[in-house]
């Protein structure tokens, strides 16, 4: 192992779901202490902490330290929409890569159960009623709902519909079948928020949120946390044989934002920055999409999963529908996608997601995934996208020995 390689030494995720008796810090502590234990290290070894959280009010890193160990190390509190977890991990990785630390801890945590519809709304009208232009559009009222939609289900519905318009073959039923796959996968994941298999009929006839996304085709708001310990190759070489054998190599760690494109400020362009991140990740790692044994991608909505088959180059350009129709992304297919159940059933506690998907991949690469193990998995990719936008892609490889 090269001294400047980056390795995941320990990683942990809490059960996703409702945790009414635990606050944000409890969940973060459970994930962080689990990751430290998994890696065989303690807070005394950790030289940098990156903590991701969006809705907890700020400063979760220091609150966490006060519960699990105050050692005076630098803390970076990060927020990057749904890519917050990946951003926390990447922050710890950058510190280790820069040589400022040898051991880093990244945590992502969110309490989101019962949060309802995200992204819409705007300021309520005041009592005294005069039309008064405000904001960057000089609007006399909230634009959401009056000039298109800013809700997440509606935004990502349009992303999928746009793909269907461009390449053809996408239908309500196709999107629902993608969701059927992920709900089927979730039955094998005891940490998923929802583990119920759903029939195509049940999915299509459930409550419509934003056509073509019905409720089970939307990511599940829930509570959860995930954490990872990263170390340099130099540090790993000093650790035990068991620690080295379970360590997972981070072959690529990439974060992008969207370069300006016509329309990207009208409907968010989640494609260009994902493709750019994937390109860079494949280049960094020397791994190609054909080498991947499993992929955890950001299926925040069924309509989003389709476009990311293409953006991550799991299929030829324009070929996402054919890719799905071939059966490839099912767990027994040629390119298993979201064997965890994905965000639609595992759940999406926003800031935890970008580390939880890496936990899933690591679990398979270590051969520890139990009933849902993808046999012989050696290489995996984890992808998240936060609207606005930020995209994180990590490529992970099993330890050589």
């Amino acid at each position: 192992m090269a001294v400047d390689d980056i390795w995941i030494l320990g990683i942990h995720m809490t059960k996703f779901g409702k945790h009414p008796d635990k606050d944000v810090v409890d969940l973060a502590a459970e994930a962080a202490m689990g990751a430290l234990r998994d890696g065989g290290v303690t807070m005394a070894d950790v030289e940098v902490l990156a903590a991701g959280n969006l809705l907890g009010g700020g400063g979760v890193g220091q609150q966490l330290q006060k519960q699990i160990g105050q050692t005076g190390i630098p803390v970076y509190n990060v927020a990057n929409a749904c890519a917050t977890g990946a951003t926390a991990l990447r922050t710890a990785i950058m510190s280790v890569k820069a040589g400022e630390s040898q051991v880093g801890l990244a945590v992502g945590v969110e309490k989101l159960a019962g949060a309802g519809l995200l992204g819409g709304g705007g300021k309520a009208k005041s009592d005294g009623h005069t039309w008064e232009p405000r904001g960057r559009y000089g609007a006399v009222g909230p634009v959401d709902g009056r000039i298109g939609t800013e809700t997440m289900p509606g935004t990502f519905a349009q992303v999928g519909m746009e793909y269907g318009h461009k390449y053809g073959g996408a239908s309500f039923e196709l999107f629902a079948r993608i969701s059927e796959k992920n709900h089927a996968h979730s039955t094998l994941n005891p940490l998923a928020a929802y583990t119920k298999k759903m029939s195509l009929d049940e999915i299509m006839n459930d409550v419509m949120i934003a056509y073509p996304n019905t409720r089970p085709m939307c990511s599940a708001n829930c509570d959860g946390a995930a954490a990872a310990v990263v170390v340099s190759g130099e540090k790993l070489a000093t650790l035990s044989a068991e620690q080295r054998a379970r360590a997972v190599k981070v072959s690529a760690s990439v974060l992008t934002t969207d370069p300006w494109q016509e329309a990207c400020q009208v409907l968010p362009d989640v494609n260009t920055l994902t493709r750019a991140a994937a390109d860079q990740a494949y280049e960094q790692s020397g791994v190609g999409p054909e080498d991947l044994d499993l992929v955890e991608l950001h299926d925040c909505f069924a309509t989003a999963e389709l476009v990311h088959y293409d953006n991550l180059m799991l299929c030829p350009e324009g070929g996402a529908v054919d890719f799905f129709e071939s059966g490839a992304p099912w767990r027994d297919g040629a390119k298993p996608v979201n064997v965890s159940g994905g965000l639609q059933s595992k759940g999406h506690p926003i800031s935890a997601t970008g580390i939880a998907n890496i936990w899933e991949v690591c679990h398979h690469l270590r051969g520890e995934a139990g009933d849902r193990q993808i046999e012989g998995a050696k290489v995996g990719l984890a992808h998240v996208i936060g609207l606005g936008s930020a995209c994180g892609v990590h490529i992970l490889e099993k330890a050589a020995a």
Partner: protein
């Protein structure tokens, strides 16, 4: 006639209501919001350009769950107006996938959003089917 105010400042209310974009004088990138600089080339000079009032639906969704006060279901869409993408609701069309289709030809239309305490009427816009 009572005073009118457009719902957003890029809607121009004249004999033929239309949208106007802020176009970067260096690279031609178009924006609908107040700008500090161009997101594409970083230029700081913009000129107003009228946007064609006819276009084609490039993406849509039928929103059934929205913020309180927003009537549902409604159709949110991205309309390609001669190469400039515009976000808007589709109006005067039943909000179901039988009547709303990708590639549908649409035309800008305005409607009253009510009057305020001073009697000023806010005028919104959407796109309606051409046929």
């Amino acid at each position: 006639m009572a005073a009118q105010i457009p719902f957003v400042d890029y809607l121009v209310l004249d004999d033929e209501p239309h949208l106007v974009a802020r176009e970067c004088t260096s690279c031609g990138a178009r924006f609908f919001d107040r700008r500090n600089a161009c997101a594409s080339c970083f230029g700081t000079e913009f000129t107003p350009v009228p946007i064609p009032t006819e276009g084609e639906v490039r993406a849509f969704t039928i929103v059934s769950m929205a913020a309180p006060g927003i009537p549902v279901p409604f159709v949110a869409a991205v309309v390609d107006c001669g190469g400039t993408s515009v976000r808007a609701n589709l109006i005067d069309v039943p909000p179901d996938p039988e009547h709303v289709t990708l590639g549908m030809k649409v035309r800008l239309a305005t409607y009253s959003m009510g009057t305020d305490d001073n009697g000023t009427e806010a005028v919104g816009f959407g796109f309606r089917p051409q046929n």
